[in-house]
């Protein structure tokens, strides 16, 4: 029990410091601005955006795809590392689960911002038709949301139980809440077996759910005729891209939380080293699919494909495209191949680069394709030949990103970032082994 005291002191959720309060307030300000801009959009119509009949989807959709992709971190970090028995994952899985929950909730919200008639949302259920990929999305997103929430919640039960006791005298109110949330966790054998079985099921379930979510997201595009979307490669391309976005976000968040909550004893250089290697792997897989997506059509050079790819390689979108490919994928791979590159600080910087690259990558998937339809763009205002988000679109998009960060902030305020019970169990096992060795 002595062990627990130290762990609880180190790992129990702490009140925000001054910096934390400033951070939270600035997030709330950004969200309020975003909501105000959105209300204005609802009143005036989507004329406040820079979208038009050609660039008919814009930053709202690419931001949505980014959130969906980031939520994949739950599948990768938890399920894949679990199945491959990578035990170093313990201190980072909770962070991954928190990011996944925030991202999937925001994905569900952002897709509604793009709707011309959000007041008719219920039509999706009243008149929904199975043949539309949007209906598939309507089914998979809430499913993924539930699975992500359960994956965060089930492993938390023993921790909530511990916190219930820990706060009993200090903060009785908070303790009561933890007590309720722990579902009367006592740590009995029966409870433990139910819990471990449930986690097992959810951890396996999240693999097909995560894959389906990413694939359906890809199918929103690949079921259409447009050059750049009409590709059989797109499902796998989106899954691998989602892994990059997710692990990038995980690296960045892990570094920030380690510093803010002084968790150097629990999240060590070893964890960054492992995460760095993992990020290299997913980046290489994504690069492979990018080769498929861009170089092979260029080789056969069908007219439509060449026009599209030239716009990316040397045309209007070239600076952004090469930033995404070189800055978001190639540079991270090179830096992370060196042992010093996998130290926490360089990892953090690379993580930021990967996340920014991933965000812009979605923008490049959505916009240029729409600006090169089969028939030439004629008889519309000159501005319609191009697209760049308007002020309203930026304010709303930044608001959604701030909301995702706020969800993460609130969760880390009340939930132990590093699983307490699991860490204790693992330490006990280690000690047992050590004892065995010494008695021998």
């Amino acid at each position: 029990m002595k062990n627990y005291d130290k762990l609880l002191n180190d790992l129990a959720p702490q009140k925000f410091g001054k910096k934390g309060v400033i951070w939270t307030i600035s997030l709330i300000v950004l969200i309020v601005l975003g909501i105000a801009a959105y209300i204005d959009q609802v009143i005036k119509g989507q004329m406040v955006t820079n979208m038009n009949d050609y660039a008919l989807w814009g930053v709202y959709i690419s931001n949505f795809v980014f959130f969906v992709a980031t939520s994949f971190v739950g599948t990768v970090a938890v399920a894949v590392l679990r199945l491959t028995k990578n035990n170093w994952r313990t201190p980072v899985v909770r962070i991954a689960e928190i990011i996944a929950v925030a991202a999937i909730i925001m994905a569900g919200l952002t897709i509604m911002i793009d709707m011309g008639r959000p007041d008719r949302l219920l039509n999706l259920f009243i008149h929904g038709r199975m043949q539309s990929p949007i209906t598939w999305d309507v089914i998979i997103i809430p499913t993924a949301m539930m699975v992500c929430l359960l994956l965060l919640y089930f492993p938390l039960l023993p921790d909530f139980g511990l916190l219930n006791k820990y706060y009993k005298d200090k903060q009785p109110n908070l303790s009561k809440w933890y007590g309720k949330l722990s579902l009367n966790w006592t740590g009995s054998e029966a409870q433990k077996s139910i819990q471990s079985k449930s986690i097992q099921i959810i951890a396996i379930l999240i693999i097909p759910v995560g894959f389906m979510l990413q694939t359906i997201d890809a199918w929103l595009f690949s079921t259409l005729y447009r050059v750049g979307w009409d590709s059989t490669n797109l499902g796998a391309y989106f899954i691998s891209g989602a892994a990059v976005a997710g692990v990038g976000a995980l690296v960045t968040a892990t570094y920030v939380l380690q510093k803010v909550y002084k968790l150097e004893d629990y999240i060590t250089d070893l964890h960054f080293d492992k995460l760095g290697k993992f990020l290299v792997l997913v980046c290489l897989i994504y690069l492979y699919f990018n080769l498929n997506e861009y170089l092979i059509p260029q080789l056969t050079s069908k007219k439509g494909a060449t026009t599209h790819i030239n716009v990316l390689f040397v045309g209007e979108y070239a600076p952004l495209f090469w930033f995404v490919i070189v800055g978001g994928l190639i540079v991270p791979v090179i830096v992370l191949l060196f042992k010093n590159g996998r130290k926490p600080l360089p990892m953090f910087l690379i993580g930021l680069l990967v996340v920014a690259g991933s965000w812009w990558k979605r923008y490049l998937i959505v916009t240029p394709t729409l600006l090169h339809p089969f028939l030439p763009i004629q008889g519309v205002p000159e501005e319609w030949h191009h697209y760049f988000p308007s002020m309203h679109e930026w304010v709303i998009t930044i608001g959604t990103l701030a909301m995702a960060l706020l969800i993460i902030t609130i969760l880390v305020r009340y939930v132990p970032i590093v699983p307490i019970q699991k860490t204790a169990d693992e330490q006990e096992e280690l000690e047992l082994e050590l004892n065995k060795n010494t008695t021998k």
Binding site: K44, G45, Q46, M47, T49, M51, N52, D53, Y54, L56, W57, D114, M115, G116, R117, R120, L121, N123, L124, I126, H127, G128, R129, Q131, S132, P133, I134, T135, V138, L220, T223, L224, Y225, R226, L370, P373, F374, L375, P376, I377, Q378, G379, V380, P381, E382, W384
Partner: protein, 330 residues
């Protein structure tokens, strides 16, 4: 050059005359067959009917001698009207359009009429005339485009709420009271034919008139698509309000060059208001084709290639505006 011109004109007249003759013969033949069929019917029914004369006596008449009167037909028409369902369309019809690219000289009367009749207030016309040139090495031409009213419409496939639908008579329409504004149909359409109401359409009196009409006559043809609604998708509707009354779509009647032919595939006839032609023969003779056939969308709009053109392509350049398709009141 001049010789060439008169030559092609003569050819055209010649073809026209021939076609006209064939149509006439065809029509006579059809009426003959029809009358024979009718006769057979009446001969077959040998039963007697009991009828009441004007002075109240009952007489027995051979049913073959009884003829359907005009007013009963009217009643039938009324019943048909009542049974008319906007989502089902007109029974036993299949509307098609043929656009003769050889005749188009970008007069844009079609577009003006369409914009006016559909009260288009946005930036983007439903009907556009493209300046087309596939390649530097091929000739340029003018290409009017409407909605293709595809038989395999990509837009209908992807609509999550069945707001855009395909009717039995071939029309693809939009229920803008149901549309959620996701714009998936616009992304799906390879012909970029759909437009979105980014703001309040402000169609003036039309909105009020339509609203009143919908309250009394909810199932009217006009109900599909008009008036426009903010945050929903619009597109060329093949003018169901006109074809319901046996009238031609506005672009067809407005065109001074007879570019547009409209008709019924089952009847195998199309007309541009001046001449009526046999669809299958027209398409076979003039090598009719459809846009992007390879995508498998099966459009209901056919094109006749821009060969033997009556006017020079350059004449149309005067009225070509790259950045405008809807005239705005200053």
């Amino acid at each position: 050059m001049k010789n060439n011109n008169t030559d092609s004109r003569r050819k055209f007249l010649d073809k026209g005359l021939k076609l006209g003759l064939i149509t006439a013969i065809g029509a006579i033949g059809l009426t003959k067959i029809a009358s024979k069929l009718n006769a057979k019917n009446s001969e077959a029914s040998t039963g007697k009917m009991e009828l009441m004369t004007t002075d109240g006596t009952i007489i027995e008449v051979d049913s073959s001698e009884v003829m359907e009167m005009d007013h009963s037909k009217k009643q039938k028409k009324q019943e048909e009207q009542e049974a008319y369902d906007v989502r089902e369309g007109m029974p036993n019809r299949k509307f098609v359009m043929v656009i003769d690219l050889a005749k188009c000289k970008n007069a844009l009367k079609c577009q003006t009429a369409c914009n006016k009749q559909h009260y288009i207030t946005g930036e983007h016309a439903w009907l556009k005339v493209y300046k087309m040139q596939e390649d530097e090495d091929t000739a340029p031409y003018w290409m009017p485009t409407t909605c293709m009213h595809c038989d395999h419409p990509a837009c209908v496939t992807v609509c999550p709420v069945d707001a855009t639908f395909k009717r039995r008579d071939g029309l693809v329409l939009i229920d803008n009271e149901r549309c959620i504004g996701c714009r998936f149909c616009m992304a799906a359409c390879p012909y970029s034919t759909r437009v979105f109401n980014w703001k309040e359409p402000n169609q003036g009196e039309i909105t009020m008139l339509m609203d009143m009409e919908h309250q009394t006559e909810h199932n009217s043809a006009e109900f599909a698509g008009l008036p426009s609604v903010k945050g929903t998708v619009d597109k060329c509707d093949f003018c169901p309000h006109a074809i319901k009354d046996n009238e031609l779509p506005h672009c067809v009647t407005a065109c001074p060059n007879g570019v547009f032919y409209f008709g019924d595939k089952y009847e195998d006839t199309v007309t541009n208001g001046e001449e009526t032609l046999i669809l299958s023969k027209l398409l076979a003779d003039k090598h009719g084709y459809r846009l992007m056939e390879g995508l498998g969308t099966k459009p209901s709009v056919f094109y006749l290639p821009p060969v033997d053109r009556l006017v020079d392509f350059k004449e149309g350049l005067e009225s070509f505006t790259d950045y405008k398709s809807v005239d705005k009141p200053e």
